[in-house]
């Protein structure tokens, strides 16, 4: 037990504590495997049908036919057996038809499960939206009837009255927010569901000047990602200003510890360099040279989570950027990262791994989805990426989520179970939102991943390449050349 007010220590995470979804052991992998099975049945059917044709041709074979007068009885026996084999009731054609039937049956089962999954997901999304909408609409009507319609500004509208009221209702001591945070930390699953109603809540409130809509309201916010996009309209996107900087607390050329933990350790160092006057720092690391060069891009998370909507902040990694990222839009951060990657001379076909914390993870997925660089891996740490655009084929996303980390749940639903997307959940504790979201918790999770024997995780670590398998204690690591950049909003 930690003393009251003292930070909760990082809970030990063992490989056995990890919950792994997606990847080669995930649901989509099952569907793919079943569909491959159906293709194998098709191939068997084709093989047998081909044999049936060949046997039919043997019946007409010149050598066989001209031998008939020389041994009529044995010829007749051969011909009878060939005819039965080619097209008899239990012959090759009938067996080929059974394999085709089996392929169709398996394929139909797979499709049915896949469709059922999609329907359930879609239904849950719809249910969450309707729940939020049907609760929020009468609430909004009530607010308007009591003369508080100014508390329901639409995107771009005046937020002043709302912010004043929120501040007043909090008593100025932050007690309301603290209670909400405590409840959410106690009930992270409920919090995630509640967040999932966000799109419906906003639509219900904004539609409350009229009758409730049967479907989506005029703002069409089916998901929390769409809602975040609407909220982002209050913030100024800006343009990136990218300047080179010295690597923080590390030599330009030096060694990087191996394993996923080694990468997280590097990210912790880069994130530690952020602060007043140093916000927006990222780092590009090169391993090898020439055609053998590969790159790691380290992207820390949010620097300023309480940006005022009407404020033109020079901090690129702020609340507005978070909202736009959740909506999958290009941001001042993603544009700045791309500019830095170009400046670092990363060739378009050189393999790139992006490791990002929080907003950095979302940005990493967006960079991969942009297709400008040959991103092979994105590792996200505490990033709400469930609703982000699907990455191109060949890109592997590995998401680490601390159970208590509410930021990772801001997407309102679990990450999709895809072959390309592995999600690893663990409980590294955290007594507050900030603690549970801290990189040190993810370092513990990454070390457990390195030590895990889970086949999905082993595949991921092997895929990450030399230096990633075996953990941070597994070897001397790799020599890397570091280039740091600072991204701000101009």
């Amino acid at each position: 037990m930690s003393a009251p007010g003292a930070p909760e220590p990082v809970a030990p995470v063992t490989p056995g504590d990890l919950e792994v979804d997606g990847g080669v052991g995930g649901l989509q992998a099952q569907y793919v495997a079943v569909e491959r099975l159906a293709m194998a049945y098709d191939a068997a059917a084709a093989l047998l049908a081909g044999r049936s044709r060949d046997v039919g041709l043997t019946l007409l074979d010149d050598d066989l036919l001209c031998s008939a007068p020389y041994a009529p009885r044995s010829f007749a026996s051969v011909e009878a057996q060939l005819a039965a084999l080619a097209a008899g009731p239990g012959g090759l054609l009938a067996t080929a038809a059974r394999w085709t039937l089996q392929a169709d049956s398996v394929r139909t089962s797979s499709l049915a499960f896949r469709t059922a999954d999609e329907l359930v997901t879609s239904f849950v999304d719809h249910l969450q939206h309707r729940l939020g909408y049907l609760v929020a609409h009468p609430t909004g009507v009530g607010l308007r009837l009591t003369g508080n319609g100014d508390l329901l500004p639409e995107p771009g509208g005046d937020l002043g009255p709302l912010l004043d009221r929120l501040s007043a209702s909090d008593g100025g001591d932050g007690g309301g927010a603290a209670r909400l945070e405590a409840w959410a930390l106690e009930n992270p699953d409920h919090f995630e569901v509640l967040v999932g109603t966000g799109g419906g809540v906003l639509e219900g409130l904004w539609d409350s000047d009229g009758l409730p809509s049967a479907g989506h309201g005029r703002w069409a916010l089916p998901t929390i990602a769409a809602a975040a996009g609407a909220l982002a309209l209050w913030f100024t996107p800006g343009r990136p200003v990218v300047v080179p900087a010295a690597p923080a607390d590390a030599p330009v050329v030096g060694r990087r510890a191996g394993g996923l933990a080694g990468l997280v350790e590097e990210l912790e160092r880069v994130a530690g360099a952020s602060g007043p006057g140093r916000d927006g720092t990222i780092e590009v690391q090169r391993t090898g040279s020439g055609a053998d060069a590969s790159y790691v891009v380290l992207l820390p998370g949010t620097d300023d989570l309480v940006t005022s909507p009407d404020e033109h902040s020079t901090v690129a990694r702020d609340l507005g950027t978070n909202l736009a990222s959740m909506a999958g839009r290009p941001t001042v951060y993603t544009e700045g990262i791309l500019e830095a990657m170009r400046d670092a001379g990363i060739p378009p076909d050189a393999p790139v791994t992006i490791v990002g914390h929080s907003q950095g993870g979302m940005a990493g997925v967006q960079i991969a989805a942009s297709g400008e660089f040959a991103v092979e891996h994105v590792v996200t740490l505490g990033s709400p990426v469930a609703l982000m655009p699907e990455v191109p084929p060949g890109v592997e996303v590995t998401s680490l989520e601390n159970e208590s980390d509410l930021v990772a749940r801001l997407d309102g639903q679990p990450n999709p179970d895809r072959l390309s997307h592995v999600t690893v959940r663990f409980d590294a504790g955290g007594g507050s939102l900030a603690e549970a979201h801290a990189l040190e918790r993810y370092a513990a999770g990454a070390a457990a991943v390195d030590a895990s024997g889970d086949p999905t995780l082993r595949q991921r670590l092997e895929s990450l390449g030399p230096g990633s398998e075996g953990g941070s204690d597994g070897g001397p690591g790799e020599e890397v050349a570091r280039r740091a950049y600072r991204i701000t909003r101009g």
């Binding site: 491959r36 044999r51 050598d63 059974r98």
Partner: protein
Amino acid sequence: MLPDVEALRALAQAYRAAGGTLRSEATALGVAVESTPWHGLAAEAARAATHEVGAMTRARADEHDEVAAALESHALEVARTLAAIAAVRERFLALAASVGATVVDAAGATLSTAGELLETVGEHVPGALGDAVGAVGELAGDLGGLLGGDDAEEAAAELRERIERIHVPGVGDLAWLDLDLPELA
């Protein structure tokens, strides 16, 4: 066209190989369905069906083996028939040659008798072989007359010329099996 025994044996071998391929395919699919990460009732039903159709495929593989065995047996029969034909033909040709060789030193009566015999057989053998046997018989009969004369050398030359003009059925011709000569059967 003569039957090609080696081609028949190769065909049998191809069937045996195809049976092996089918058996391997059935085994591979059985392994694939067991190793596919798929669980539940549908998966179990698919596994059972796969093993059932796999067994059917193995049965087809076995039938390929049976066809291969039948083809090998057929090839053996054909080979035996061809050998029998070859033996008859060889002995016939030997007899025909002996007719020619006897030109010089055999007695005309003997040749006349052999000629009559061959002519009689030739009338009962249809087709080209019958013609050939008849022709040889006629020759032998004629020789009897020729050898009764003084010019034996001239007669021998004429005989050889007439023998060369006889059309003898080819190797493997089934007609040889219809030939029933004394000491040729």
